[in-house]
Symmetry: C2
Subunit: 336 residues, 2 copies
């Protein structure tokens, strides 16, 4: 059987089946974005990694090395943000062709340093290796979280409201502008959407604030798309969910880009990945206070996009009342 | 300027120049094999990683996926062993072509599980991604060490004896047998040397014992070759060293393979990398007791191969008294 036949998540299931399930010191292991580990210290250790491959995750002629450095760091900071924790230290493994410019590598690390600095974190180790043709960057980020502030994807409760920060789908729109640079768009919208895709800003302060509020029952960062990551929450919580299409915030820039591309903005918002916004759940009665406090504390808005149900599926309720089970399950790196 | 012009260690120097030098919670950062981090817990956190690239570090038709899994885990366990610490948890990033057999990946993780199990450690997370042609495995290993037991490469003292476990150069001999399978060798020697190269056994118990003894002043694992890694000890300790060629243990299997290959066994022993033995320093008067105790406790022999000097170079003293400064600085992944 080939990897392409079972897809990314099928492969992860197979790998999880081989690895031991109960491990000393492991609070959360395989299957979550972030491993949560007990070092016998006052805080839990958080560990996450993300491998970025040239030609798969990025194109060298589209993203500058500085942007790439920021991006790989941001993606991992976003995972730590969703736990409510603090990023601290990173290890970077780099595989590159021997004929690369040293300046390219320096710019890459400048980008990482900058993004890590914004999070109060540092690159403290790693290794470099030769690779025939492509650039591969694997970024491993360690963080710490007080046990009482740890938020997980697996703890959503039936009846909880589902909330989302920011404007989903904008990263997908930015990707479309890279693929089809001929699309006619206002310069400001084009620049914003490209930046959203190339240089996402992780919601670190927001994650910490939400965890501290004590009002959030589960949280995840949106890397696999709204439906994909809500499915992750539902599967690991043993619940279902209903998304109200009318609840999603579709930004003017997103609408402009989708119109230019002849695409459905709702589809981009629901299934476009790599937004790195936070999706979280809370009791319905806590929602008004939570929205108000998040805006006051961080300047970031969130909207209510649905609710957790007793079911096992993520169902989409359209504005006309029709209920559909969306096929799009988010990004799958093997197209399985 | 190209990466191939400054080499692996030149590139690491450039990267270190960009990253901040003083970071909160960092006991040892860039430049060591293992980052040593203070989580405010009772033990220091250890973090190391190693990226293995098909076609550079391994060939798919030479090493089985199970052996590859053991090998990538072993390489990292060896780094933790040299600190005197305990391996605990690993994250694995994998990039593979979509047309790979799922069974290959399962065997790879079985190998990792097995090697980690021997160390009392577990794979607890990671991620998988598509890659056009080659397999890339990045293995990040976390460990813990009591602050009083941490051994570093940077604390060798002038006059210390330099000691080495095992039989250096055997991994290099195994590599030669892979490159030139036509070489005539006794079947047992061939099998042992191939295993030494493909499935190295990290010296974990030995590292823990040596750290616990309180007699070791510095330690490193031999991945870059005896000269290469002694140079790392010397550079980070601000010292020099003298190796006595006659002190090295050249195993019968190594001699047989070098003879068949028309190669110099001493050169393989000094500059062949990937032995994953432990090299350490201690006061000369402690050597007899240390050798005896290590053998009794772990069954592994070590030999005295030289001493730390006030100089700045690693000098080799041949059996006839001639002193040479060896050119070979060990493995450089960019051939710089």
């Amino acid at each position: 059987m080939l990897v392409s036949q079972i897809g990314e998540f099928g492969l992860i299931d197979r790998i999880a089946g081989i690895l031991p399930q109960q491990c000393a010191g492991v609070i959360k292991g395989i299957g979550d974005d972030v491993a949560v580990l007990d070092t016998s210290g006052p805080e839990y250790l958080l560990a996450t990694c993300d491998i970025q491959v040239e030609g798969v995750h990025f194109m060298r002629d589209v993203i500058t090395p500085y942007q790439l450095g920021r991006r790989v760091a941001a993606i991992n900071v976003s995972d730590i943000a969703a736990t409510g924790g603090d990023p601290r230290w990173a290890l970077v493994s780099l595989a590159i062709p021997a004929d690369m410019e040293v300046e390219y590598i320096e710019e890459l690390y400048r980008g990482m340093r900058e993004q890590m600095g914004l999070a109060g974190a540092f690159v403290v180790g790693g290794n470099v290796s030769r690779m025939k043709s492509a650039i591969v960057v694997d970024f491993t980020l360690l963080g710490l979280v007080a046990p009482g502030r740890l938020t997980l994807r697996s703890t959503a409760r039936e009846g909880d409201a589902v909330l989302l920060t920011g404007a989903p789908g904008e990263s997908r729109a930015g990707l479309e502008l890279i693929r089809r640079p001929e699309l006619a768009l206002s310069p400001f919208a084009r620049q914003r959407l490209l930046e959203k895709h190339l240089c996402p800003q992780p919601r670190l302060d927001e994650g910490r604030f939400l965890a501290r509020s004590g009002l959030v029952t589960s949280m995840i960062d949106v890397s696999d798309g709204v439906i994909g990551d809500l499915s992750h929450i539902c599967q690991s919580s043993g619940k279902g969910a209903e998304i109200e299409a009318a609840g999603l915030y579709l930004s003017p820039d997103l609408l402009e880009a989708a119109l230019a591309a002849g695409a459905a903005p709702l589809e981009w918002a629901l299934s476009g990945g790599e937004d790195y916004e936070l999706m979280f759940t809370a009791a319905p009665e806590a929602v008004p206070e939570l929205k108000k406090m998040l805006l006051e504390e961080t300047g970031i808005s969130c909207v209510r996009i649905g609710r957790i149900t007793a079911g096992a599926e993520v169902v989409l309720r359209l504005a006309d009342g029709a209920r559909v089970v969306p096929a799009a399950k988010g990004w799958d790196h093997f197209g399985g």
